[in-house]
Structure formats: C-alpha cells, structure tokens
C-alpha cells in the first residue's frame, strides 16, 4: 500500500503574530510542520513499520521554504518527497487543486493530512482534495485500522466519538491526539538528505476567495489584580463573579 501525507509548513504555535505593511510578518518566526500534519506523518510511518504501508510519500504545496517541512518528514521516516511550488497567497481551493493534481499522479491507496492547519485554521483542504480525487474521506481521526481494502477510523466528533468505515483509496485527516510524533533521530536526519524530493509546479488554479484585510485583535486590557490572603482573594473574586459577570449558581 502506498501512503501519501500532505504537510504544510506553519509558524511555531508559540509565535507572536505581527503585521508589516498590512501583511503577516514572518521575520524571526520559527517554522515547523503543522502539528496536525506531523501526527499524520507519524501515523503513516507507523503503518509502514507494521508492514501495512510499503511506501510513504510526503507532499507539500508552498514556497521553497516548505522543503524544510518535507525534509523533517523524511527524517522522521518518510521515503520520498514532492514539493509543489505554489505562491503563498493560494487559497484553500487553489491549494487543493495543486495538491490534488500532484497526488493523482502518485495514485496512492491512502492520503493522510492534518484536519486543520494551525495558521489559517480553515479545515478545508483535505476534504477538498478528497473531492478532487473522487475518494471518500474521514476527518478528525484519533485511530485508524486498515484491513480488507477498507479503513476504519474513530473521529473526535461534536458530542462524542464516531467510528466510520470507508473503502480505499481514501483521504483521512488527523486530530493531534491520534499519536505522539517522534523526533527525527540523527541517523534519520542524515538519511533524509539523500532521500529523493521532486519539485513540480502547481497546477494552474485561480483563487476563489480574496483576503481583503488583515488586522490584529484589539489587545485585551489587564483588569484588577489582587495579591492578598487566599480567603480575601476568593471573597473578592466571588463578589466580582456575582455582581459584574452576574453568574448563575446551580
């Protein structure tokens, strides 16, 4: 079985966001694999270790910098990479078209991706890719079993856990709690440098949406801060909850 994993390079989740000339500034920002995608990479490598997957291919759409994300995935244990060069301004539609075209060429049995990216928070691309490929999909998974040409996953749904089965080939998107991604070993990092990465141009697609404005939320002002005996603190906090917030006590 061939498993393909989509990864996106994102800002570190601890990064402070600043605007420069109306755009998000990436100056001094540490770049990482989107944490949800990192879990998908780990899931794919585990499938290979179990002998379920024969090959793990990692694909990323983005600028040359996305190569770092691919190399990290290769260092974790993926076999080869594909960098789909695309303008950073591509929207979810254009990105899905670019990834979809590259994935189609590979004809994988299973496509894995994070269910959401920590930067744009859209949660659209894996499902859009599934539609482009004509594959069934399951989102926000926390477990995965492959057997008899089918994949069965648990998903973190609203108000409970859903267990869904689809036939392969399929697209599956991961929740961060699915697994604990490994750190690349030194040996893995050395090997990753020799693993093949193809660079292809993105399939042409115009954006369907336009970002008309970026802004930073109004900074929340610090309010009252009390340093006193715990009892005094608690009494004052209770008064504030009752009189200002007007909480209802059950």
């Amino acid at each position: 079985m061939k498993v393909l994993v989509c990864v996106k390079q994102t800002f570190d989740t601890e990064a402070k966001i600043e605007l420069k000339d109306g755009k998000i500034s990436d100056a001094g920002i540490n770049l990482i694999i989107n944490p949800y995608d990192e879990v998908a990479v780990e899931g794919a490598i585990q499938l290979k270790e179990k002998g379920v997957a024969k090959e793990v291919v990692v694909v990323s759409a983005g600028s040359d910098k996305a190569m770092d994300a691919i190399r990290t995935a290769l260092a974790m244990g993926a076999d080869r990479g594909i960098l789909v060069t695309q303008d950073a301004g591509a929207d979810e539609y254009a990105r899905a078209v670019a990834l979809g075209a590259a994935i189609k060429n590979e004809n994988p049995d299973l496509v894995l991706a994070g269910h959401v990216a920590a930067d744009d928070g859209s949660s659209q691309v894996p499902t859009r890719v599934a539609e482009i490929l004509g594959y069934p999909h399951i989102n926000v998974i926390t477990s995965l079993e492959v057997a008899g040409g089918k994949v069965v996953c648990s998903s973190e749904a609203d108000g409970g856990t859903q267990i869904t089965e689809v036939s392969l080939p399929a697209v599956v998107s991961s929740q961060v709690s699915w697994n604990e991604p490994r750190y690349p070993s030194m040996k893995g990092i050395m090997q990753a440098k020799k693993k093949p990465v193809d660079t292809v141009a993105a399939a042409a697609a115009d954006n369907k949406t336009t970002i008309v404005e970026l802004s930073l939320p109004a900074a929340k002002q610090a309010g009252v801060k009390i340093e006193d005996e715990a009892e005094v603190c608690a009494t004052k906090l209770a008064d504030w909850m009752k009189n200002t917030v007007k909480v209802e006590v059950k």
């Binding site: 998000i24 539609y93 404005e213 929340k220 715990a230 009892e231 200002t244």
Partner: protein, 318 residues
C-alpha cells in the same frame, strides 16, 4: 430580489444545536428571505422551531439515507437544491459535520468558502467574512463572491434573537440515493458528561499545570459544576493526561469564547491565550504574579488555587 439566505440545520436525532438559531438570527439581519434547510428523519416536525427565530421557509428533506449525516448523500442533495432554488448564500455550523459538508460541497461547486466565521457581512452575490487566523492571534477579512456564498459559522458568536417567521414548509425532491453514500457510520458513542460542550458553554473553567494533578482538576470540576460550566485545560494539563485532548483550549485545541472564562493554575502561554482571549470576562487564579494570563484577565488573584477555589465555591453558594 435576492434569492435568500439558507441556514443548514445542525441537529442530531431531532436535537437542534443552538448554533442553528444563532445563524438564523444573523441571517435575519440581512433583510432578505431566511430559510432553514434540514435533512433527516421526521425533521418536518421541527419547522415551528425555526419559525420562532425568523425562518420564512423551511426546506425539509425526509429520508432514511439522511438519518445520520453522511457527506456523499448530503452533498448530492444540497447540490440539486442549490441548482433548483438558487440561494444567495448558505451558512453551515463550523462543527465536525458542518465543515466537512461545506468543504466537500464547495469543491464540488468549485466555489470559495469561508470557515470558522466570527463576523459576516452579506449582500447580493458577495460575502465578506471575518475569520480568526493563527487561532485568534490575527483576524482576516475574506471575500467570497462565488455563487452561492458559502460560510461555516463559529458557534457561540452570534446572538440569538427570537423573530416571527412564516416557517412555510417546502419539501424538495429527494435527489440523493444510496449510491451517493460512501461512508458507513459504524457507531456513535456520545460523550457521557453532564457538562455543556466547550464551544457552546456560557462559562468555561480551565485547569493548568498549577492543578498539579487529578486532585487539582477535581477542584476545577467542582467549581465548573457549580457554575454549570464546561471544563477545559491548558496543554500542560492535557499532556499530563489529567484531561482528554477534546478538552484542550488553545491553538492546537479548541478556541472558546464564553461569557466567563476562569483560568486556574494556567500561566497563559501564547498558544493558550489564542484560544480564550476573546472571552467576554476572564478570571485568573495563579500563584505567579508575573504569569502572562494576568495581562488578559479582567479579574486576577495571585494566590493558591487549592485555597482560593474552595472558599470561592462556598462564597458563591451564599
């Protein structure tokens, strides 16, 4: 005349989620015809519920294949209805099912989609939607001008307002068949909890590293239950295994915006702040006077949560 705003009803077994009424109330503000669209079994009977919040029409699609949400049949049905009735815009809940539905539908229609929307301007053929990006560290205004205008709406953001609507039931032809279904839902295990869901709760009480272990979390839960609140946690509390991942608040967890957020023993790492800073009121309890959480707290107490919360509980009970 515009062809109206559709609100896709978020429901399970006839239990309508509050976000549906939030979307109807928001749609009503545009002055255009508002319709609730509901797929399922026995859903026609729900029509008066939507009329109460201003639905002029209720498109009710009945059928066994719509009993549980499944992407294939729902998309096939919606595409047929969009072609027939030509709505100006369709709103979905930004939920497990809603974002799945809207994303696959948008790609089928080769259309744009704004997800997790927190403010929405709508006119004929165009929507301008505000989205939180980087989990709320920045805001983006996104224009969607493909037809129909598609968006998923974050629960708990828009106000619910009752408004009389005719609620006229329309029963469109069923356009989906078993051949459209490609997912088998083998099981749904509801979370057994007496507490509200994190992203719908009026009050959220969260615990962090300062809880020191399950005992500290128990104190947090006791306060939460007194306030009818949802329980959440910082990444430290989740990674330590004191709470399940589904309760994580922050950039790799959930973004919440309750009326009151109580942070107990949470220092306020930037990725946590991203998930809760938009709460209306924030209270913080932490022993470290330098903790960043105090920069966003409306009411902060520098004290030990193990001492503060029990007294707080007895004071609130008075």
């Amino acid at each position: 005349m515009m062809a109206g705003t559709w609100v896709f009803v978020e429901q399970r077994d006839g239990n309508i989620r509050k976000v549906t009424f939030e979307m109807l109330s928001q749609a009503k503000k545009y002055g255009d015809e508002v319709s609730a669209v509901v797929f399922g079994k026995g859903v026609k009977a729900l029509a008066p519920e939507f009329a109460k919040y201003g639905a002029d029409k209720v498109y009710a699609v009945e059928g066994d294949i719509f009993a549980d949400y499944n992407t294939g049949a729902f998309v096939a049905q919606m595409v047929a209805m969009i072609n027939e009735f030509q709505p100006n815009a369709v709103f979905f809940a930004h939920s497990f099912n809603g974002r799945d539905f809207a994303s696959r539908l948008a790609q089928k229609l080769e259309a744009g989609l704004a997800t997790d929307v927190i403010a929405a301007e709508l006119s004929a053929g165009k929507g301008v939607f505000t989205r939180a990006i980087y989990a709320g560290k920045a805001l983006a205004k996104v224009e969607v001008a493909t037809s129909p205008v598609l968006a998923t709406i974050r629960p708990g953001v828009f106000e619910v307002a009752e408004a009389a609507g005719a609620g006229a039931v329309v029963e469109p032809a069923v356009a989906a068949s078993a051949a459209d279904v490609y997912q088998t839902i083998k099981e749904f295990q509801p979370t057994v909890s007496s507490r509200p869901e994190l992203n719908e709760a009026e009050v959220v009480v969260s615990g962090g590293r300062g809880c020191k272990g399950p005992e500290g979390i128990k104190i947090v839960e006791e306060l939460a239950d007194l306030l009818g609140a949802a329980v959440g946690g910082s990444r430290a509390a989740i990674d330590s295994g004191w709470l399940g991942h589904e309760l994580q608040v922050g950039q790799t967890g959930k973004v919440v915006n309750p009326n009151l957020y109580v942070a107990a023993g949470i220092s306020g790492a930037i990725q946590h702040l991203a998930g809760m800073s938009s709460s209306k009121f924030i209270a913080a309890i932490n022993t470290d006077t330098e903790a960043p959480i105090f920069n966003v707290a409306d009411f902060g107490v520098v004290a030990d949560l193990f001492k503060v919360i029990p007294t707080l509980i007895s004071e609130l009970k008075k």
